[in-house]
């Protein structure tokens, strides 16, 4: 078992937190059909220092000499959390905002994403939002941009089943 990545030190002054290897092991149990704790494990790995803290830097996949690919396990734990409807974390809400954008038009709705991800914290980001708006960095319309043949996208969202 990898002990190097079981706990990691993030930049700054945070204490060492759960690392990629811990998630790889967590996924091994959460994905086991004989395990009856799937939802509890989804909750366990969805809070602070959980799957939604992963920045997707891909260092763990790059470094692992055993081909464990911990980032892939983190991703699959995220999917299990969605299937078990454990989606209250801000990170999960961020992913939901992407799904809503895709369903409604196909492209990312940048007006929606910040308030949907963090409805309580978003007002505190108002000064940055204002500065970005002054520079033209926020879309003028809250409507989602629509791609051609978006009925195909809607059908895919409806039909494609997750299998983990």
């Amino acid at each position: 078992m990898c002990r190097l990545l079981l706990r990691v030190q993030l930049p700054g002054c945070r204490p060492r937190v759960r690392g990629p290897a811990a998630f790889a092991w967590g996924y091994r149990f959460a994905a086991d059909e004989r395990d009856s704790q799937r939802k509890n494990r989804a909750k366990l790995y969805s809070g602070e220092h959980g799957v939604w803290d992963c920045t997707r830097c891909m260092f763990c996949n790059e470094r692992c000499p055993k081909g464990v690919d911990p980032r892939d396990a983190i991703e699959k734990l995220g999917s299990i959390a969605f299937q078990e409807k454990v989606t209250s974390d801000k990170g999960a809400r961020h992913a939901k905002a992407f799904l809503i954008s895709l369903r409604s038009g196909g492209k990312l709705n940048e007006i929606l994403i910040a308030p949907y991800t963090d409805p309580i914290g978003a007002p505190f980001n108002a000064p940055l939002a204002l500065r970005m708006a002054q520079k033209g960095k926020l879309p003028k319309s809250p409507l989602t941009h629509k791609v051609k043949d978006r009925d195909q996208v809607k059908k895919l969202i409806k039909n494609v089943k997750e299998t983990i």
Partner: protein
């Protein structure tokens, strides 16, 4: 005859970072490339959809690949995240015919074109950092960067995982350095150039994300850089738009202008500054323009 690409700028370059899209489009004729629009292409999901619904992520990205295949040309991107998502999906279906078959079944059911697996995905940086790309720049006779000291910032997802990206050594990349040197700039080397900017979690875990971007910003500043350049619009948002917040959190000053890669090339090739829309940056680039003489 210009080299044709199916152009996939990604959502951020189309909306909040329009300056990147505008500059790339203006630069294309100078680089002898033609960017063909992809009107049916959706968002790649940015890793979020892959995390929530991996099968849906794969199918949506293969649908994008299939649109380019119907156009008969490879895809050119200007975003690290889009590049990784599209290349990863491409690798998954090319390596396993059963996966391709299952994805195509879903695409056909939804009325979309099935994918045959003939498309490659490349980033503008990769295209330009080859012999072919560098000769295109030389042929244009670059006006040059006048010794501007530039900190290359790669970010993560154009380098890692190398099994999917594979253009260069993820620990010792040289593509940005080659371009900076070829354009008449000076490289400011620093350790944080391959570190994460934190942007994927900046809305959900702001403090963690800002501490990540601090590593690169402080490294570039300490290396004496006048400007940072990045091939990714998400890294650009983290470094440029959030820079003041990072300064407030860390109690430090960076005053680091950040350019999109096509803007750096545009400056060297003498593209009009108005076209490159520097006014949309949150950290002013006036001193950079003065050094280059733009």
């Amino acid at each position: 005859m210009p080299r044709q690409f199916a152009y996939y700028p990604g959502c951020v370059a189309e909306f909040s970072s329009k300056e990147l899209n505008a500059t790339t489009k203006a630069l294309a004729p100078l680089l002898d490339i033609e960017l063909l629009p992809m009107p049916a292409a959706t968002c790649c999901g940015a890793g979020d959809v892959a995390e929530a619904k991996p099968n849906l992520y794969l199918t949506l990205n293969v649908r994008i690949l299939s649109e380019a295949e119907s156009m008969g040309v490879d895809i050119l991107t200007i975003c690290n995240v889009c590049t990784l998502n599209l290349r990863r999906a491409n690798k998954m279906v090319k390596e396993d015919p059963r996966v391709l078959e299952a994805v195509n079944e879903e695409l056909i059911k939804a009325g979309a074109r099935p994918y045959q697996g003939t498309i490659e995905v490349t980033h503008l940086l990769w295209f330009l950092a080859t012999e072919e790309g560098l000769s295109l720049l030389e042929a244009h006779g670059p006006k040059g960067l006048n010794g501007l000291k530039v900190a290359p910032y790669y970010g993560c997802q154009l380098l890692r995982p190398s099994s999917v990206m594979g253009f260069e050594d993820p620990d010792r990349p040289q593509s940005l350095e080659r371009l900076i040197t070829a354009l008449g700039g000076e490289v400011a080397d620093y350790e944080g150039k391959t570190r994460c900017c934190g942007f994927p979690i900046i809305l959900a875990r702001e403090e963690v994300a800002l501490k990540e971007s601090h590593v690169a910003l402080a490294g570039a500043r300490d290396a004496g850089a006048q400007v940072m350049v990045t091939p990714c619009p998400l890294c650009h948002l983290a470094m440029d738009a959030y820079q003041r917040k990072t300064e407030q959190l860390m109690g430090e000053e960076y005053a680091m202008p950040v350019l999109h890669l096509p803007q750096l090339i545009g400056l060297a090739l003498g593209l009009p500054t108005k076209t490159m829309e520097f006014k949309r940056h949150l950290v002013p680039v006036d001193e950079v323009l003065a050094t280059v003489g733009a």
